[in-house]
């Protein structure tokens, strides 16, 4: 039996168990399945997967959590420990299944709706059908096709024009350690109305030892003047397999900022694609990937400057230890009529061991002549002189290395406005450092003393 057939069989089995669905959904599932069958899992011969071998997924035998027999529920204490400690509107999925008891939408402000996909479909499936799949078609990749065939659950976030949501919206995907490997294909849809503003966090996290496969597809639409900050904090277990694609469609004067922070997973592949469709649209990609052991993390980003006067800025930092393998591929496409655009890209990598590996590739396709573009990639090691200088002041070696590793990520981490997220990153990347987060307090003390 081919690798693909295992997944197609799981799909057929699911189709017989699932209740009746609107015809458009059934048709999309069929289209997704057909496309997946035709494409098959990518191999290293495919340019987009040149450095990433997905056989660990293709050869896996994963069960949908809905169909699994022997899954222990996640204890509330475990769920609480995994949850980011921050005040948020929270939507929780456990191995792809909505967990209302772990969700909290009580404080939902006016003009904002946050629902599980199943609920949004039950309420008004036609309102979902128009937007869903518009950006992430089945042709994008075999994984998107697979997601389209399987997707039943996920999040639908809608911001009415002019609505400003101060509280972050947290969509968390929890993964359980389980005897049977599970799979999930969640789908996220974010529609940000004109001049709306919000922060959305997608958080992948799980129990230690979880060895599941999650295949997430997110679609984000920003209408005129909308401002959206999107965090992806991927802290999956070191055995988890994770694939995601994030598709963004930007209207005039909209601003999208992505933080793609990857700390976990054994095999991780993220795609981010932004379409800058009208002038004034701006997109910022900040990324950090930290991998050790034999972790493999692949980030592919793409910005399509489809209109003049559009801006993109990208800064990705990779930190790789042991025998970890990182991939960064950043592509920028400037259409012929997209004059006066600006596109900047930078990728810096820190190798903490001789056996760690990075493949980094900037790709610029520029068909306009009046543009401002830059790109650069560097790879280096920790500065041993600096480690000595810190230790020579009494700071322990581990702390010194942690401090310098974190300093390397500084340009990206300084932009992270959510302390709860920054602390998770710091703990993983640098270990426990002495009170970095109290520095802000120190500055205030200094200012107060200045006034004396």
């Amino acid at each position: 039996m081919s690798d693909e057939q295992t997944f197609l069989d799981a799909l057929s089995a699911r189709d017989t168990r699932r209740g009746a669905e609107p015809t458009w959904i059934a048709a999309r599932r069929q289209a997704g399945a057909a496309r997946f069958e035709a494409l098959g899992f990518p191999t290293r011969r495919d340019e987009a997967f040149k450095y990433t071998d997905v056989r660990a997924i293709a050869r896996g035998d994963f069960t949908l959590a809905q169909d699994a027999q022997d899954v222990a529920p996640l204890s509330p204490a475990t769920a609480a420990a995994l949850t980011l400690p921050l005040e948020a509107l929270r939507l929780t999925f456990v191995d792809g299944i909505f967990a209302p008891e772990l969700s909290d939408l009580a404080a939902l402000p006016a003009g904002v709706s946050v629902e599980p996909l199943s609920q949004a479909l039950a309420d008004n499936h036609e309102a979902v059908g128009g937007a869903l799949g518009r950006l992430a078609g089945v042709d994008f990749s075999p994984f998107t096709a697979l997601n389209t065939a399987f997707a039943e659950e996920g999040a639908v976030i809608r911001l009415a024009p002019g609505s400003v949501v101060e509280t972050p919206i947290l969509v968390q995907f929890l993964s359980r350690a389980n005897a049977t490997p599970l799979m999930s294909h969640p789908r996220v849809l974010i529609e940000a109305g004109a001049r709306s503003q919000a922060t959305v966090i997608e958080h992948q996290v799980g129990e230690e030892g979880a060895a599941n496969f999650s295949n997430l597809v997110s679609e984000v639409m920003l209408e005129r003047g909308a401002i959206l900050t999107h965090y992806k904090l991927q802290e999956a277990s070191l055995k988890d397999l994770h694939v995601s694609s994030l598709h963004i469609d930007q209207g005039r004067d909209s601003r999208f900022t992505s933080f793609n922070l990857n700390l976990g997973g054994s095999l991780v592949r993220n795609d981010i694609v932004a379409e800058l469709n009208a002038q004034g649209a701006e997109t910022n990609y900040f990324g950090l990937f930290f991998a050790q052991g034999r972790q493999h993390v692949d980030n592919h980003t793409l910005v399509n400057h489809n209109a003049p006067h559009t801006f993109s800025n990208e800064n990705y930092k990779g930190i790789l230890g042991d025998r970890a393998h990182g991939v960064f591929n950043g592509k920028v496409v400037v259409r012929r009529d997209s004059q006066k655009i600006e596109a900047h890209q930078s990728n810096a990598n820190l190798l903490l061991s001789d056996r760690a590996e990075i493949d980094t590739k900037p790709e610029l396709e520029i068909y306009a002549d009046d543009v401002k573009c830059s790109h650069g990639a560097t790879t280096g090691q920790l500065d041993e002189e600096a480690i000595f200088a810190l230790r020579a002041r009494g700071i322990g070696e581990e702390t010194a290395r942690g401090l310098l590793t974190l300093a390397f990520a500084g340009e990206v981490m300084d932009q992270v406005a959510l302390d709860a997220v920054a602390e998770r990153v710091e703990r993983t990347v640098a270990g426990k450092l002495p009170e970095r987060f109290n520095l802000a307090g120190l500055v205030e003390v200094a200012a107060a003393l200045d006034e004396e």
Partner: protein, 250 residues
Amino acid sequence: MLEVKDLHVTVEGKEILKGLSLTINPGEVHAIMGPNGAGKSTLSAVIAGKDGYEVTSGSITFEGKDVLEMDIEERACAGLLLGFQYPVEIPGVKNIYLLKAALNAQRAARGEDEMPAPEFMKLVREKIKFMKMDSSFLQRAVNEGFSGGEKKRNEILQMLLLEPKLAMLDEIDSGLDIDAMKVVADGVNSLRDANRAILMVTHYQRLLDHIVPDVVHVLVDGRIVKTGGKELALELESRGYEWVLEESAA
């Protein structure tokens, strides 16, 4: 306090220190002078624990403890602090963070609690004023974009805050104009007390006008060939090193 006995050190297979002995007592200020390549910087680097120096024989003890058995950070916490000739830039690490982390690491090593933030800031501000530095330095990355003089002041600032028992200053005067030299010297002099000692490595007499030593050593070809009082430095300044060499050869 510090006892260096018959120290032999090689760097990349080449012997640099060839049987150096030195005793420093609390309250004393020692200056080590000598021509280029004599091994002046090697001594302080070995005491601080820098990589790449192989001690082939001899010993270093500090307050009775074997320094060569201690980790770099242990030496610093024990009160042995090296002021660098070329302070390294540490992008992304704020000065204030370095100061706080270092002070608290040293306090922890002594079994003391962390210093509360207001007390810490008060102390830092007092010291930074003394060094005639702007408080904006605290928010800047360690030494990044600092001028030569600013880097040296920053080294002394760290000394003032960490209050080492033995401060080792490696060519702290190099690249300083006279105003900066005075500030740095004032900083170093403020550390002088009956329980502390200072070891300066320098080329020039000029520094010793501002930080007056109790003992001056002449280091030539890996050995201390002459030891005297502060007047020895003046003599070296006017007569050079040749006569010392001749005298020691005789």
